[in-house]
Each structure stands twice: as structure tokens, then as C-alpha cells.
């Protein structure tokens, strides 16, 4: 399998072709439109190594996330960054390449925080390994974390080693009626205290939070918090993570605004849109359905020291990701060139120019 992939890469390099790396296609909607011949990597699958007492799992990039999470659950462990699937066949490779994390992200860390090592093919068809299967490793530049969120533009992931964590013994979710401004203040205040918070979501006047930990700890915390118990918390958070909740069903383009958690309710282009925001990550992630001009939405995010991504739908011609300052873009372009000198992989998926 690997030698076939190498052949295809070298062929593409020799013939000036481009390749669209594909696992299950669950995240094909994200980033610039896939272009070029499909390089299917889903068949390169299987869990290579997993020792629960090491808290490390290594799997091939085509391995379905569901297979990994099922095995981890059997050993009372988890991928703590709670990856969104966006499709039942979502693969590990796509999870790393998209760099997307779920509701637990501000409390446990992002995908990139759990990546320990990768095996990959670069644009010359060279098989390379970076990082490893250990928690602490400062030999060489941290290339494995660089892969997270690179949308396949630097190379083909072959295998990935991840740090995993124990499943919390217990969880419960609580709900409070708060306006947007109160919710933002509360989420930040709670994060500054020793509380077992593991997810937060505000929408339409309701703040929902999740507590996780040992049974007695979350019961004690529940008494401190008050609020109303949410009957099926697991479904609620899954629907937020997978964007199946009613909020996400709007036909308007979906924007993802990444801002400092303390940013006030954003001044968005049309005032009626104030009600079409959903806030996650303790205030640091704000989803917005809007057909306002992209420039206006980006300005609103920038005014709050944040960035806006056109996450789903809309017109991608004006760019998906927040534009970078020229000097920073130039460094990114040189890094891309270092990994993929013939510009084979996933052209314009991450940047407009390359």
C-alpha cells in the first residue's frame, strides 16, 4: 500500500499533476474545494499499537475513528479532544489533517495537543517519521503537531500516535437561563475556578454545561452550580459536536469565529443575527449563520482580536480561512514548499495561493 502511494506521488511529481488526498471524504466540505486526482488512503488502516497503561495509541491514517474510539472505550479511555466525525466513516487521518476538536477542547486540549508522532510521505515520495510514541520529545522541530490542521497540504499521513486519557467516571449536564453577556461572563469566571467543567454551550438564552470527574466530585460541584439537570446530556453534546442540533440546520453559510473567550457579544453585520449565534468553548468559539458579506464578518471577528472561517456553504472564492499578514504567509509558503516542492498535495485547500 505504501509503495503504491509513493509511486502515485512520484508520478504526479514527474507529470506536474495534483492530488486530492481522501480518507472517507467526511471533511471534504471544509477548506478550499478538493482539486486534482483523488489519492485514496482509506485502505491504509488498522490499529498498530495500543497499550492502555502507556496512554498511547498508534493507528494508520485510514483507520475509522469509530474503530479507535470503540477500542479505547473498552479500556475506559478516550480521545480527550472529542473529535467531530461529520460522517460515520471519518478516519484518523482526516481528523488530524482537519485539526478540528469538539466540546472538550478548552478544558482538555485540541487535536494538536494530543499528537505525539506521525509517519508520512512528503511531496518527493519520501517516507518520514517525526515525533514518536512518548509524551515528551524535543528532538528536532515539532513536525507532527504541524500536521494537525494542515489539511493534507504538507504530505500524506501514514500513521499517527496519539496520547489518550481515561474516560471520566461520571458526567452530568446542567442548564441555566442566561442572556449572552451573562453567559460569557459566567463561562470565564467558572474556568478560573477549580471546577470539573468539560464543555459549555450557549444558544438562544440557554447556557448548557457539562461536568465530568469522579461521581462524588461532580455531585459536589452540582450543588455549587445549581441549574437544571439536562436529561440526555450525551445526545446534546454529540449533536453540538456533529452539528446536528437545530441551530446548525439553517441554510445560510456557517461561519466559525475563533475569538478570545472574554470577547463581548460580537457586533455582527445585521442585528437580527444576534439570535443566530451559538457559543462554545467557554466563549472562545462562536458559530454564526449569516449571508452578510465575508469582509464584514471577518472585520467583526478581527475587531474582537479573533478570526473568521467560512466553515460550511457560502462562496469560497473570497477565501475560506482568515487572511494572514504577508510576512507570515511567506513563511507558510516556504514551509509548504519544503514539504511539497512540486505543489502536488491538496492545492488551495488551506491557502488561496498555493
Amino acid at each position: 500500500m505504501i509503495s503504491e502511494l509513493i509511486e502515485k506521488i512520484q508520478h504526479a511529481a514527474a507529470h506536474g499533476q495534483t492530488l486530492a488526498i481522501r480518507g472517507s471524504g467526511s471533511k471534504a466540505f471544509y477548506g478550499g474545494e478538493p482539486q486534482g486526482a483523488t489519492l485514496d488512503v482509506a485502505a491504509h488502516r488498522g490499529i498498530v499499537d495500543y497499550a492502555p497503561s502507556e496512554l498511547v495509541l498508534t493507528a494508520r491514517a485510514g483507520t475509522p475513528l469509530s474503530e479507535i474510539e470503540k477500542l479505547l472505550r473498552e479500556h475506559n479511555q478516550m480521545l480527550a479532544f472529542e473529535p467531530p466525525y461529520f460522517g460515520s466513516h471519518a478516519t484518523l487521518g482526516g481528523c488530524i489533517a482537519s485539526g478540528l476538536s469538539g466540546p472538550r477542547r478548552p478544558y482538555s486540549g485540541a487535536v494538536r495537543d494530543f499528537v505525539l508522532g506521525v509517519g508520512m510521505l512528503d511531496g518527493r515520495g519520501q517516507q518520514l517519521k517525526f515525533g514518536g510514541q512518548v509524551m515528551k520529545n524535543v528532538a528536532g522541530y515539532d513536525v507532527s503537531r504541524l500536521m494537525s490542521g494542515s489539511l493534507g497540504t504538507l504530505g500524506v499521513l501514514l500513521d499517527v500516535s496519539l496520547k489518550v486519557l481515561p474516560l471520566p467516571a461520571a458526567a452530568l449536564s446542567l442548564r441555566f437561563a442566561y442572556d449572552i453577556q451573562t453567559a460569557i461572563r459566567r463561562m470565564n469566571a467558572w474556568s478560573g475556578q477549580a471546577l470539573p467543567l468539560s464543555a459549555t454551550c450557549w444558544q438562544d438564552g440557554q447556557l448548557t454545561i457539562r461536568l465530568e470527574g469522579t461521581q462524588r466530585a461532580i455531585q459536589a460541584a452540582r450543588e455549587k452550580f445549581g441549574g437544571e439537570l439536562v436529561a440526555d446530556g450525551m445526545t446534546f453534546w454529540r449533536d453540538i459536536r456533529e452539528q446536528r442540533a437545530a441551530f446548525f440546520l439553517s441554510p445560510l453559510p456557517l461561519w466559525r469565529l475563533s475569538v478570545p473567550s472574554t470577547a463581548d457579544a460580537l457586533m455582527l453585520p445585521a442585528s437580527k443575527l444576534a439570535s443566530s449565534q451559538l457559543i462554545e468553548w467557554g466563549g472562545a468559539l462562536r458559530w454564526l449563520h449569516s449571508d452578510a458579506a465575508p469582509g464584514k464578518i471577518r472585520n467583526a471577528a478581527a475587531a474582537a482580536d479573533g478570526q473568521a472561517t467560512l466553515f460550511r456553504g457560502g462562496d469560497k472564492r473570497s477565501g475560506v480561512f482568515h487572511p494572514l499578514p504577508p510576512a507570515l504567509l511567506a513563511i507558510q509558503q516556504r514551509i509548504k514548499h519544503n514539504f511539497d516542492p512540486h505543489e502536488i498535495f491538496n492545492p488551495r485547500r488551506l491557502f488561496q495561493k498555493f
Binding site: G109, M135, G140, I335
Partner: protein
């Protein structure tokens, strides 16, 4: 050229911020790895970002290498001067610019000491998690350059997990903001790439870190074992039971005795190994897990268990561990601190091999181990005054690092490659991987002026060493002597 070059530096720096006389340069001739020494051409101690920028522009124009330096506590020679280069000390950048208690962030100049961050955040009930053992002296800029760890990494992560934003200047004087106070930003994760880059890519002028809420309670247990293997097994059992300790440290007999004699921490001098296991979190959570932990340690054969009864005893237990390096230093004129990481399950095999090598080389070794995350610090005892002993020590150390790579680990967990482990990099990475590292450096620093010769070996250097890249856990030609 030198006089002209120094005049240009004089034009942009205050008089006291440029050192050129040998007696002034001597304090900068080495970092924490003092076996390597070199006087630089000059030391620059700029006081403003604009001065840093000017120094870099001048060095760039004249092709003079620049070695950044924080407190100089690094243990791998990363801040070792270059004979034809300048030391760019960030020591004057000591200001805590702002602490935002609501957002739980601290904006810092790079010369702020690690411990000073937590001290300043304490009034808000917050702290900065990474705590390298040099935390009273080491600076946050140096922590970023090395991706420093400490004893709480398993639960709270390394420097890379606790950063939000860096402000840096490239060698050609461009000021860049990397990351932001949100949780992610567009493009490649340059924040991760810069963390641990050992001053090879850019010069840091500002760091924004995350602060965490102080845990409600912390409690430590001291477990003694009559056998190192049993202690190693206990570590796996604790983690398999779903407990993530805030700290989980192991020490072997020699380290225990040295620490006990030095600080009287209450360690059992006759134990083959001790584990220090600290739990923190909510009061109820710690209570529940302490019961569980007791059971696990008993079942795994601990010969004695002591829970610190109060905060004073907790700090005393830790004082022994934190003083382990200087304590071992009292046993011998010199010691050499290694820093490999291994998959934890390989611990018995690795310790066995280290003790064999210890006999082979006739050099004693004390082992101190961040057991939770597999980071091993063997301390080799030697006497630099005995001709040839340092060379034998370095050779022994090199063998330990090769061993770490061979069992699936790495040559450095938290101290960095610097100049010290540059040859072992040839063993851990293949030529194409090293070439890719060089390419990354050139994406930032085309003229290769920032800390050149450190962290990533030149390919010809590896070729001269004789292709010792380890493949699939197997050294090529394992029968051949190395170096």
C-alpha cells in the same frame, strides 16, 4: 570588519548593553552544560524590542551568527556561544506586561522567570503549570525555546500546551505575531513549530501563556519498593486504573540516599526505588482517588506507604525530589545529566542495561525518572580531573541515548538537543528527515544565522559518524562500536 561591526552595534545599543571585553564575556561562555565553553565575539543586552530588531538587522547584514540566551540554565548547550557570533541576551526583558484574570492569561516579556509567573498569578487563584526544576531561575523565553517540561507534564502538559501567542522577530528584522488569544488561528501551527525550536527560527520578544485555576487540594503519597521492577509496574497499574496523577516520580537507591542525606526528606534509605505520586483536583475527587491509589500501591508490592499529613510534609517529600540533582552532585566531583524518554513499559529493560553499562564503564549512575511520562534522567557520576573520564562519561551517555531510541523512545524529553546531543540526532533521524528540518530552518532564516550548528546536525556530520540511523528499533551493524 569586527571594529566596524561592533561600531554599528554601539550605534543602536546603550553603552552598558554591549559587552566586548573578555572579562565581561566570561559569564556568557557557557550555559547549564558547562563542559562546553566558548567566548563570543560580543554580548548584546538590548532593553527594547526596537534594539533587538536593530541588532538582528545588523547581524543579518554582516552575516554574523546570533545565539539567543535567557537565564543560561539550559542543559544541552543550546546557548553555547559561537566564536564568530554574538550572544543576544533577553535578560533585561523582565516585565510581566499584563495578567488578565478573567481570560486567565499572562502577557510576558521573554526574560520573566518561570516561577515569577505563578507568583504574580497567585493573587487571582491562578498559576502557570509547567514547572521545570530550574523554575526559580529559568525564563519563559528559554522555556519556549526548549519546550520545557517539569514534574506535572502528564496531567498539565509541556510548554507547548500552555502557550497562546508569541511575538517574534526574524533574523531580517520582521516582527511577527504567532497565534492569538483565541484557541486557534489560520494556517499552519507555527506556535507549535516555534516551541522547542532552540533559538533556530526567530527571536522571541513577548510570550502570552495560559494560566490555570489552582487545584482545590493536592496530596502526595510516598511509596517504597524493594525492587525497581515492582515500582515500574505500579506506575502502569495506577495509570491503567484511570488515575492521572499531577506528579509521578521515581528515584532509585543511589538517588534516594543522596537526596535523603542532603535534605532529610524522610525517604527510606534502604528502598530499591521510591515513587512519589501526587493527586490534585477537587477535594472529593482527591479523597476518592487516594483510596484507590493506596489499594493499587499495596497490591503492586509497596513495602511502605506514607501519605503526607500536611502541606509542610508534602513540600518536604517534594524537596527531596527537587534537590535530587544537586544531592547527587555531592556524591561526586561532577555529574552528567541525561534526558532520554522511553515507552514506560521498557523501563525494567532500560534500567537493567544502564546498570550493565555502569559496570562496563566503571561509572556510577543515579536514576531519577519522571515516571508518569517516561522521561528518564540518569545522572552519571564522574571526575573531570581524571584524564579521559569526561570522554568515557559522554560515550556512556551516548549509549544510553541510543538505547532510548532503540526501545522506541527519544534522545531528549525536555532538555533539548543543543550541541550536546547533536550526534545522537543522526541516530534518531534519517538523512531526508534531517534535510526537512534544515528546510524548515531556511523557511525562517535563509542565511542560517540563528544559532547555527545547534539542534539539527549537518548531513555531512552524520555521514562522517557513519550512518547510525536506527531502523525499526534495530541499529545497523549492532556489533560495531559507536563513535
Amino acid at each position: 570588519m569586527n571594529a566596524n561591526f561592533l561600531d554599528l552595534l554601539r550605534n543602536v545599543l546603550p553603552k552598558h548593553a554591549l559587552l566586548v571585553e573578555p572579562e565581561d564575556l566570561h559569564p556568557y561562555e557557557c550555559d547549564g552544560l558547562s563542559v562546553y565553553r566558548q567566548l563570543p565575539l560580543a554580548v548584546c543586552l538590548p532593553e527594547t524590542e526596537a534594539q533587538v530588531q536593530q541588532v538582528l538587522i545588523i547581524c543579518h547584514r554582516h552575516g554574523v551568527p546570533v545565539v539567543a540566551r535567557g537565564a543560561g540554565t539550559g542543559l544541552s548547550g543550546g546557548a553555547l556561544p559561537l566564536v564568530n557570533g554574538v550572544i543576544l541576551s533577553l535578560a533585561r526583558f523582565k516585565q510581566i506586561i499584563a495578567i488578565d484574570a478573567e481570560a486567565r492569561t499572562a502577557r510576558l516579556q521573554p526574560g520573566v522567570r518561570n516561577l515569577a509567573i505563578s507568583e504574580a498569578a497567585a493573587r487571582y487563584g491562578l498559576y502557570y503549570a509547567p514547572d521545570p526544576s530550574s523554575q526559580i531561575a529559568c525564563t519563559i523565553g528559554g522555556n519556549v525555546a526548549e519546550n520545557s517540561g517539569g514534574v506535572h507534564c502528564l496531567k498539565y502538559g509541556l510548554t507547548v500546551h500552555n502557550l497562546l501567542r508569541l511575538r517574534v522577530i526574524t533574523i531580517d528584522g520582521e516582527i511577527l505575531e504567532i497565534g492569538n488569544e483565541a484557541l486557534d488561528s489560520a494556517g499552519y501551527d507555527l506556535l507549535a513549530l516555534l516551541t522547542g525550536s532552540e533559538g533556530m527560527l526567530a527571536i522571541i520578544t513577548e510570550v502570552t501563556v495560559k494560566l490555570l485555576a489552582k487545584p482545590e487540594r493536592a496530596q502526595v503519597i510516598l511509596a517504597a519498593f524493594d525492587d525497581v521492577q515492582k515500582a515500574g509496574q505500579a506506575v502502569g497499574d495506577i495509570i491503567s486504573a484511570g488515575i492521572i496523577p499531577a506528579g509521578l516520580e521515581m528515584m532509585d537507591t543511589l538517588a534516594i540516599q543522596a537526596a535523603e542525606d542532603f535534605v532529610h526528606a524522610g525517604y527510606p534509605r534502604d528502598a530499591a526505588a521510591i515513587l512519589l505520586c501526587e493527586l490534585d483536583g477537587l477535594n472529593e475527587e482527591v479523597s476518592e482517588q487516594m483510596l484507590q491509589l493506596h489499594d493499587i500501591l499495596k497490591r503492586s508490592g509497596a513495602t511502605s506507604l506514607r501519605t503526607a499529613v500536611d502541606e509542610a510534609e508534602r513540600l518536604k517529600f517534594w524537596a527531596g525530589r527537587k534537590a535530587a540533582f544537586p544531592a547527587v552532585g555531592r556524591l561526586s566531583p561532577d555529574y552528567y545529566c541525561m534526558d532520554g524518554t522511553i515507552p514506560r513499559r521498557q523501563l525494567p529493560q532500560v534500567l537493567q542495561r544502564i546498570s550493565e553499562l555502569s559496570v562496563e564503564y566503571g561509572l556510577r549512575v543515579a536514576n531519577v525518572f519522571h515516571a508518569g511520562d517516561g522521561n528518564l534522567h540518569p545522572l552519571i557520576l564522574y571526575d573531570a580531573n581524571i584524564p579521559g573520564e569526561l570522554k568515557r562519561t559522554e560515550e556512556f551517555g551516548g549509549k544510553i541515548l541510543e538505547l532510548c531510541v532503540a526501545v522506541g523512545g527519544t534522545i531528549t524529553g525536555e532538555h533539548g538537543v543543543g550541541i550536546e546531543k547533536i550526534d545522537q540526532m543522526c541516530g534518531q533521524f534519517s538523512a531526508p528527515e534531517l534535510a526537512l528540518f534544515h528546510g524548515i530552518k531556511q523557511a525562517w532564516d535563509e542565511a542560517r544565522l540563528l544559532n547555527p550548528g545547534k539542534a539539527v546536525p549537518a548531513l555531512h556530520r552524520c555521514a562522517e559518524l557513519g550512518a547510525m540511523h536506527v531502523h525499526g528499533g534495530q541499529l545497523k551493524h549492532p556489533d560495531l562500536p559507536r563513535f
